[in-house]
Subunit: 537 residues, 2 copies
């Protein structure tokens, strides 16, 4: 009898804590192995992300190594290409090569969370910054400093004012916390720019409802949060939505336009595209489970966290909310239930009532609500906020580091230092020596290649015989076939001379040929000729 394999998709709270609890509940004699797939090898402690924007935490303070948190779990740091529910396989995208990697599972845990999705919102995708992961936090911070530098270097009052205007869309938890941090940061750093007058700065929060965090907090606390933000200089627009964005302005749905170069949008979240592609019961893009976290109509698919629709047994109505508090508890029950299921024992029901809600409001203030009764705010709430999240931080060394960062921040004034990562070239240049393979027949099609100089041979292998299809030289391109037909490579490309190539990513290629007529036509014609040639062989 071979080992049972559990594959977890996603490294957020739900995924990582499922792995963590599985390591606790599985005995070595159980013959169960666990694998986790995630894009990064770290776990981001989301509740502290706004502090990265604000700079009270160092960039790495909010991340923990998944490998260290769950040492017995086999980690795969890859993108997920797709999930084959029939074959019970997860197919991972290539890394360092063009070969996909296939994982088979007996039990699959889907914990992919949701993604920021600006589809259908004009210009938002192009010109608003999302606020979801660590990279987003850094990008926002860098943009703010860039805007301050730009304003400081200019003598044009309109231009300066536009650069010094910051707009945040969405007044839920994440939008409110991030606007508080941005506001504090801009006003604090501006003091280091003698040429910037604080009256030139404006920070806007756009919220479609009539009070902040209306789903999470009681009215009195909402109003308190609002007062704090307004006092600190945040301009809150209630009852309007961010409708569109251009490089120069944010456009609200009441027609108002705000001249700005920096828009952050925290809405809307939408399901992970992988979740959307799965043929299993879903409610508005969330996977439907029973109260034991087993996906409806299945005996080996599980789901937890933000991508799930789990009946809320504790309250008897609706579904469990998408919060870290719930995800961690769900993970524990999920881990227990998988082990029970494998051993043929009974599964446990998930039943949990939220302890309370908290939101940080930047410098030394916060709002909190416990057990639906106790409400408090201000410095006390802020200290409580820090304490709770600090206690929940995974790993002792992380705790020490975060505490030290907070200590340092309270003693040493912050510097307006950007962390500039040079932009990666959109089009990669590659060099190959004679005899080297660019890609193999059957590989995944991820790039289009253009030959700058040199020569390549296109061949197929049939009955272990090499059939050369053609030889291509400078100015030719190849690889369009797999890209256009969403198939794997239909031939192998080997270099016969020292060869320099340009490689165009699949996504960039798609954009270019669909919009750029002369290019699209030329490539389509070539693809057709070549495909027919191959088919007639």
């Amino acid at each position: 009898m071979s080992k049972k394999r559990i594959v977890i998709l996603g490294g957020g709270f739900a995924g990582v804590y499922t792995a963590l609890y599985l390591e606790k509940f599985i005995k070595p004699s159980d013959e169960i192995e666990v694998a986790l797939v995630n894009r990064e090898n770290y776990f981001v402690y989301q509740p502290m992300l706004p502090e990265v924007v604000g700079g009270s935490l160092d960039i790495l303070d909010t991340v923990s190594s998944i490998r260290k948190l769950a040492p017995k779990t086999r980690l795969f740091i890859r993108e997920i290409d797709h999930v084959d529910l029939k074959q019970k396989q997860v197919i991972l995208s290539p890394q360092f090569s063009h070969k996909p990697l296939t994982l088979t599972y007996d039990h699959l845990v889907i914990a992919l969370g949701n993604v920021t999705d600006f589809r259908g919102m004009v210009g938002i995708h192009e010109h608003a910054l999302p606020f979801k992961n660590l990279a987003d936090a850094l990008v926002i911070r860098n943009r703010i400093i860039e805007a301050l530098e730009g304003a400081s270097a200019s003598d044009d009052p309109g231009w300066r004012r536009q650069l010094l205007t910051f707009v945040v869309g969405g007044g839920g938890f994440s939008g409110t916390e991030v606007v508080a941090e941005i506001n504090d940061l801009v006003r604090k750093l501006a003091k280091q720019y003698p040429r910037i007058n604080k009256d030139e700065i404006s920070v806007h929060l756009i919220h479609s409802k009539d009070r902040l965090m209306e789903r999470e907090l009681s009215e009195s606390l909402s109003l308190y949060a609002q007062k704090i933000l307004q006092k600190r200089g945040v301009n809150i627009h209630f009852g309007v939505r961010l409708q569109a964005a251009t490089p120069n302005e944010a456009i609200l749905d009441n027609g108002e336009k705000i001249q700005t170069k920096t828009i952050v949008s925290t809405v809307p979240s939408s399901p992970n595209p992988i979740v959307e592609s799965l043929d299993i019961p879903q409610i508005k893009g969330h996977i439907e489970t029973d109260s034991t976290l087993l996906v409806k109509d299945s005996d080996h698919l599980w789901c937890a966290g933000d991508c799930s629709a789990i009946p809320n047994v504790a309250t008897g109505k609706g579904y469990c909310p998408p919060t870290a508090q719930f995800a961690i508890r769900e993970a524990k029950v999920l881990a227990k239930n998988i082990v029970a299921q494998i051993k043929g024992k009974e599964r446990k029901e998930f039943k949990f009532k939220a302890l309370g809600m908290m939101g940080a409001l930047g410098h030394h203030s916060a709002v909190a609500e416990l057990f639906g009764k106790i409400k408090f705010s201000g410095l006390l709430a802020w200290m409580f906020w820090r304490m709770v999240y600090w206690v929940k931080l995974p790993g002792a060394s992380r705790k020490v580091k975060v505490a030290l960062s907070w200590l340092i921040e309270s003693m040493i004034p912050q510097e307006a230092v950007q962390l500039k990562i040079s932009p990666s070239q959109g089009i990669a240049k590659l060099h190959f020596e004679p005899g080297e393979i660019v890609f193999h027949e059957g590989d995944i099609g991820d790039y289009l290649y253009i030959i700058v100089d040199g020569e390549v041979e296109v061949y197929q292998e049939r009955d272990s015989q090499k059939n050369v299809v053609s030889t291509l030289g400078a100015g030719s391109y190849f690889g369009e076939m797999a890209l256009m037909n969403q198939r794997t490579r239909s031939a192998t490309i080997s270099c016969t001379k020292p060869t320099n190539l340009l490689a165009l990513r699949k996504s960039d290629f798609g954009m270019l040929i669909s919009s750029f007529a002369p290019l699209g036509e030329s490539i389509q014609a070539t693809e057709k000729t070549r495909r027919e040639e191959l088919e007639n062989r």
Copy 2:
């Protein structure tokens, strides 16, 4: 009488310390203002960069805000487009817009250092990582962790070995220090990967000479450094050069090939392209100055640091070496001399003898040589190394932070956490509303635009009259003219409908049209027709 303006180009040791000393030497009554141009708003403390790769320092520990170091200097955070020596102007690239910014100067300080330049080395530019600035250090660190993750996930022994092979080209100071850090890092982190066997790891240093750091250190210390590295597992190849690179291997000039996915090259350095473009006396790409740091045959151009060729008065032969030690002292004399020159006083000669040399060798060892006599190595040298650089760190708060990082590192085991910044899309998508301007006539040409949908109007303004040249719709492109002729925009583009555009960076555009025949021809033909149309108007 208006103020005299000094413009400093470059924010390395020479540039920043010149600003710093100018602030000391200039009295408010002197009527002199100082501006500094740099790509980043921070100063990187180069000697500590290898520690960022190794992870003993946090990313931001090695950087200081230039604004804080030199608060009275006006900072411009921009790329330099070009320098016009005749008009005494520095033209800066656009930021947030397409408008260049022009600075005029009375005195110009050129302190642009050098750049890593792989021109002429086949495949090195494409497949070797440079090690020069903060982003490079991060990229190298991330790549190493990615390789460990990749090897851990694979069962193919050859593939694993290739991923776990790391090659560094160049055995000067920077190459030796970085190979030491990489070696320590890989072997330390590998312990966190239970599936990686330490025998699978190999680290290579490729050096063209017969001993390490031969220009900087005496033979006995070179040999000591070599012994240390070899004992720790670094495989040193003497007397050979890194000749070429492909995605799969490093190729040495003796024909040897090393299968690897990670190549770091610290050679060669070449002059900054801006320096190369200047019509002033140069020796092998270094600007020739007299012994007072005034550029030859000039009375208002100055030069210091790695891009200069300053006669070495102290030794009486050759030029001053490109080290931080010298750059800081040069900056001081340069600042004094500019002020003297402006006031019509006599300039001072630059005369300095190096105090000694030091090199760190990773974990708890280093080599040092003082006054050409005292030599020491090992733990003592390492502690000395840290002390000297720590004392020289600018800013008290930076000192505290670095000391804390070192303290934390000695107590808390390091985690193999990458800092993944999502790759920026190679081709940007833009959205504009009706009436908005994409670019103005006279702007700098930095992008080619393709219309995905919508409509734009192309017009010129003559005698404040608007002449519409044409209207373009979906599938058309514009902006090629300024890119192909290296000129400014010959017309203004305004959107008449809500418009979505793709924007292709100038550098990417250049690569594409020069290599991709059908595209190049089509665009050239369009450009010609449109140019003739405009000229005939």
